[in-house]
Amino acid sequence: MISGEKIVQLVSGLLQQVYALLGLSAYAGILDRVVCAVVMFGFVAVFVMFLVWMERKVSAHMQSRIGPNRVGPLGLLQTLADAIKLTTKEDVHPVKRDKIPYFIAPILAFVATFMGMVVVPFDNKMVVADLNIGILYIIAITSFTVIAILSAGWSSNNKYSLLGGFRSAAQIVSYEVPLVLSLVPVIMITGKLNFSGIVQYQQQAGYWFVFPQFVAFVTFIASATAEANRAPFDIPEAESELTGGFHTEYSGVKFAMFFLGEYVAVVVSSAVAATVFLGGWLPPFPFLGFIPGFLWFMLKVLLVIYLIMAFRWTFPRLRVDQLMDFGWKVLIPITVLNILVTGFVVLLAGKGA
């Protein structure tokens, strides 16, 4: 039977032999991490390409169109063609830009979201870095995008970009709060900040947290959508109002980085939702255990991503003040109430951490 654990053992055994051949066994610990990171980077990059294709197919399906179907089978290579087009494009930039932040912003947007993926467990023991504060890490690292977007908006020296940047700052700061608060009940029940630990808890308990914590799941998805700047919360780049928002003045590779960054942010949010609320690598029923855990995990991630994509192609966009209202007056009270109720239940059940 294939399982993530076995693959990891196999690969690490193989790597040990390679290190021994090259005489680098002393650095095995560091080299392992480097290899893991590179593999993760490659995997996420390819997965994001697939997602862009998927988004186009999903939107095409919802809009009674066909979608990409020319490049490769079912148009699967369309994203690759787009990527080549974007990377070979001339890099047009405004003359009066603020050079350093303008240059750093796309890199930051790209890297910060990518870094979130390293703590997400794909299967039991199949994780780049099994941090004991995984949740804290992922929340901290993904909020870096606000700095990227704000500096992109500021340095472009464009009025639309600036408006987009400020909208984004307000939005991400507001939605960070319900995002964290909707994860708190799970942490209270499990007493763990570690993703693998939370999945293991769900395995022992025999249920996924989406059932007892459905409210938290919904608020998490809503705030994660807002965090990733996706419709209906895509006001920082609201096309019909602000042209392109913060990335109006970006083209070529830099634009591609923002674009990829947005999709990676969606992947990270969905991965967290799948791990924390949908049982990560666990099969829905024990008899389905013959299917490897990482496939279950990917399936759940895709499910959440599909949900987020369906939002985008169904809903109109909220206005900036309505967005703030929704965050502060609806999501935060609900999540706080949810924490209170969960606290009572945990106390009464007597299994508080």
Partner: protein, 381 residues
């Protein structure tokens, strides 16, 4: 003129935080201003302080050109006045000329005109629905709207060979009779289309975000509406009866049964609702017209050279897809109009924008603009 406008906008520090006003040029190239409308928007943060439409980027001087063309030649230009609803402008000009010269089209031509103008209204409202939804961020209805519009354009193409600028309604009648298969195809389309309207309503009308974005936003009070010369569905959203088809029936509108759609709130949602209901009424009108269609001539016999009587003038109006479309013609006994003036609904509807958006957010400009259904070529002519 632009420099004058911009010089009036000075950065001023009234706010205790010493903030400046932010002047943004929306357009002439902008993803949301349908075409080449330019808005100079004065902002305080996200709040709109003033919106100034700047026109003329699509001015083609059609009215002046018409003065140098014979009456039948002018019809071709009227297509370009409002290319989303070209049939209506064709009809407006043809009717004005006929009234000026005391002509009348035969009954079959009149019924055909009604069928095509109402189908055109459907096509125009469908496009508007998509664009309006797109303006407030829902991208999917646009594709749905265009999907149905394609089938209407197929019907037009089948009859007159054109899909956008038809030149179909001529002085004294119509260009060509419909094909025998037109009537069944048109009925099939109506049967297909009518159940689609509730589908769009399901997607938009009571969507909480859509309601949030449109309810209470951009309220045209009856006084403001009348003072600013707002007309058509935009004014009917404020509860004022202003349908020319009812008030001054032309063609055979007095022989068909239809309701004038009215809403009382005057906000973007009311205007949306009026147009959605109008689509239902148009379907019913086309059905009645198809029932009443009888064989007969499709144009009256015209003199070889059409001349208006000397010193004659006419103001003739119809209800186009966007509101009252008036044509003012002055004849001087020659084959060319001495003066032609088009009173276009979009032009008068554009200028309430400033009053409606003051104190609202940037995003509301798009919602209000979308709900007014303005078409730039009609504004600039």
């Amino acid at each position: 003129m632009t420099d004058l406008l911009l010089s009036q906008i000075k950065p001023g520090g009234e706010s205790p935080f010493g903030t400046d006003e932010y002047v943004v040029n929306m357009g002439p190239q902008h993803p949301a201003t349908h075409g080449v409308l330019r808005l100079v928007v004065k902002l305080d943060g996200e709040t709109v302080k003033e919106t100034m439409p700047v026109l003329g980027y699509l001015h083609r001087s059609i009215e002046k050109i018409c003065e140098n063309r014979t009456y039948p030649q002018c019809i071709t230009y009227t297509d370009r006045v409002d290319y989303v609803s070209a049939m209506s402008v064709n009809l407006a000009f043809a009717l004005a000329t006929e009234r000026l010269m005391g002509l009348e089209a035969p009954p079959r031509a009149q019924w055909l005109r009604m069928i095509f103008v109402e189908l055109q209204r459907l096509a125009s409202h469908l496009l508007w629905m998509g664009a309006f939804a797109g303006d407030i961020g829902a991208l999917t209805p646009f594709l749905y709207g265009l999907r149905e519009r394609e089938r209407i354009l197929d019907l037009f193409e089948m009859t007159c060979g054109q899909r956008l600028t038809y030149n179909y309604i001529r002085i004294g009648g119509v260009m060509i009779d419909i094909l025998p298969e037109f009537v069944p195809k048109c009925r099939a389309f109506l049967d297909y289309f009518e159940p689609k309207i509730p589908e769009y309503e399901e997607l938009l009308t009571y969507n909480p975000i859509f309601l949030e974005r449109t309810k209470g936003v951009g309220v045209i009070t009856p006084e403001v509406g009348i003072n600013c010369g707002v007309c058509g569905p935009s004014l009917r959203g404020s509860g004022i009866s202003c349908d020319v088809r009812k008030q001054q029936p032309y063609l055979f509108y007095n022989q068909v049964k239809f309701n004038e759609c009215l809403e009382n709130d005057g906000d973007c949602w009311a205007r949306y609702k009026v147009r959605m209901n109008e689509m239902r009424e148009s379907v019913s009108i086309v059905r009645q017209c198809l029932d009443r269609l009888e064989p007969g001539p499709i144009e009256t016999k015209l003199p070889p050279i059409l001349k208006a009587p000397p010193a004659s003038e006419i103001y003739s109006r119809i209800e186009s897809s966007r509101g009252e479309m008036g044509i003012y013609l002055v004849g001087d006994g020659t084959p060319k109009p001495y003066k032609a003036k088009f009173r276009c609904a979009s032009f008068s509807n554009t200028f309430v924008l400033d009053q409606l958006t003051r104190g609202w957010k940037v995003a509301d400009i798009m919602a209000v603009l979308g709900s007014l259904d303005m078409i730039v070529p009609e504004v600039d002519r």
